[in-house]
């Protein structure tokens, strides 16, 4: 296997982008990545696109070909990858495997979701198709509902509080203020989160990530060719993916995502590092409780102490292990298929030292963690500065 490097990244503004189409968004992200990599589009060999549900959101399937066409990249192979909210992370993994195998040299991993061309109720219904339609959604489960079940059980087993969950939203909104592409440039307080309207208690509106339009793109190359394009190539040293039951009730634990622990184990092993070596991480905070469980499952703190370490500021920029410096899904926004790629963009910018006011000093090793559904899929990547 060959070592793989990221040579270019690009991302659109995240938000309710009513004046921009699906096609325009992906081309904007792609053009920025190509410009960043200083590569000619003609050199690109293949593309993977993470996209959860264009069929439901814009009534358009077959988006692999659509994007290759409108990006002027035909006839290169272009494949759409779907794993609910982990679609972007899975597209990245497919691109990494393709470059590592030697089949192709210069491979695009893109992610996109256009979510605001439908009413929010339709978007919620589309997202719920990532849960078990016959045995969860049929009885009235929603996505916030499933994560609320995890939250209630986490509170019961470990004494986690609603205030501690709110602190995740406070921190991620704060970080998002320093990220030009974030959906929200708006700080929130613990009180504002606690007093926001109930969605599925114990989760309130400000515990939930928003509905977002956005696209992101990274360009990968074999490490030995990366320096021709970029003075600071960022290596992807580990990739891991795991599956679990699609329905939450079929899993032995409600307070840990086994797909995350398994994917992390594989990624750490491949990269030859452990949780203590990671300088910063982007984790899948689709709900505030999800960040607390993620930092436990990734090994950044003991099981059950996610709330405590968040309260003590260990996950803030300047803390022991900064989490979601981009603002995360909560503050930056969560265009589901784009999220896994957007996480990679943030880690690359941080490791290059290009993250501006949200820069983590001396960051050398970063991690990205992307989850599909309530934990049926998880994918973890480890990144390292290539010098």
């Amino acid at each position: 296997m060959r070592d793989v490097a990221v040579i270019g990244v690009g991302i659109t503004k995240f938000g309710e982008l009513w004046d921009v189409s699906f096609r325009e968004m992906i081309i904007e992200a792609g053009a920025r990545a190509i410009e960043d990599a200083k590569i000619d589009g003609k050199q690109l060999d293949a593309m993977y696109v993470g996209n959860m549900s264009s069929g439901q959101f814009i009534r358009q399937e077959h988006t692999g070909a659509l994007i290759a066409d409108h990006a002027g990249l035909v006839p290169i192979p272009s494949t759409r990858v779907e794993g609910a909210c982990a679609s972007g992370g899975l597209a990245l993994r497919q691109a990494v495997i393709t470059v590592a195998s030697g089949i192709h040299d210069f491979v695009v991993a893109a992610g996109i979701e256009k979510m605001t061309d439908v009413l929010s109720g339709v978007a919620m219904g589309a997202l719920a198709t990532a849960a078990d339609q016959e045995w969860e959604v049929y009885v009235g489960a929603t996505f916030p509902g499933l994560y609320a079940l995890m939250a209630r059980r986490h509170m019961y087993e470990f004494g986690t509080t609603e205030e501690q969950m709110a602190m995740v939203a406070v921190k991620n909104h704060q970080n998002a203020c320093f990220n030009p592409c974030a959906q929200y440039h708006m700080k929130v307080t613990v009180d504002a989160v606690l007093n926001s309207p109930p969605v599925t208690l114990p989760l309130k509106l400000l515990d939930c990530s928003p509905i977002t339009d956005g696209a992101a793109c990274v360009i990968l190359a074999p490490a030995e060719k990366a320096r021709k394009f970029n003075d600071t190539p960022i290596l992807i040293t580990g990739t891991g993916q795991a599956s679990d039951s699609i329905s939450l009730h079929s899993r032995p634990s409600l307070t840990s995502l086994r797909a995350t622990t398994e994917a992390a184990k594989a990624a750490y092993k491949m990269a030859g590092v452990g949780p203590d070596d990671i300088d910063l991480a982007e984790v899948h905070d689709c709900f505030t409780i999800a960040e607390l469980m993620a930092i436990e499952d990734l090994g950044f703190c003991k099981k059950g102490e996610g709330g405590k370490v968040t309260q003590e500021g260990e996950t803030a920029i300047g803390g022991r292990i900064p989490i979601n410096t981009s603002g995360g899904l909560k503050g930056k926004g969560h265009p589901v298929g784009a999220t896994g790629i957007a996480q990679a963009v943030e880690i690359v910018q941080q490791l290059r030292g290009e993250a501006g006011k949200r820069q983590v000093d001396g960051a050398e090793i970063g991690l990205a963690h992307n989850v599909g559904g309530s934990g049926g899929t998880a994918v973890v990547h480890v990144f390292k500065r290539g010098d």
Binding site: M124, A128, W135, T142, G145, P198, L248, H249
Partner: protein, 132 residues
């Protein structure tokens, strides 16, 4: 939902028919077609579960799933049945503030929703607190 898609699941939704593996004796709900423990040597057969269990976790839904708007606020729960498997269900006929982890529930037959004004009615199971 297409009528056949609903109709296929009636035994499980009306009568809690799951699966039991004749090889490892594990009971599963919803029913499965392969025993994940025994795989090829598994021998799955239909098994009627006892409609009793305990609340493992619960959440109070204020923003409903599509089709459940007239039921808010409703309690969504994961219940562990006495036979072992867990299922996701609503807890019905109660004040949402009453429900606690560990509460005993009985699984009862209830109307779940309807396909518009002229379409089919959906039925299934909900949990009901067993008062001591």
């Amino acid at each position: 939902m297409a009528v056949p898609r609903f109709w296929r699941e009636i035994p499980s939704r009306y009568n809690l028919i799951g699966s039991r593996c004749g090889n490892c004796n594990k009971v599963m709900f919803p029913p499965r077609h392969i025993c994940p423990h025994c795989r090829r040597i598994g021998k799955l057969e239909p098994y009627k579960l006892k409609p009793r269990g305990k609340v493992v976790s619960y959440a109070i839904t204020h923003v409903a799933a599509n089709g459940f708007e007239d039921q808010v606020p409703y309690v969504l729960a994961i219940v562990e049945l006495e036979d072992g498997p867990r299922l996701t269900t609503q807890i019905t006929d109660c004040d949402p503030a009453e429900v606690k982890i560990g509460d005993e529930v009985e699984i009862v037959f209830r109307r779940m929703g309807e396909e518009g004004e002229d379409g089919v009615l959906y039925y299934g199971y909900k949990g009901k607190l067993v008062k001591p």
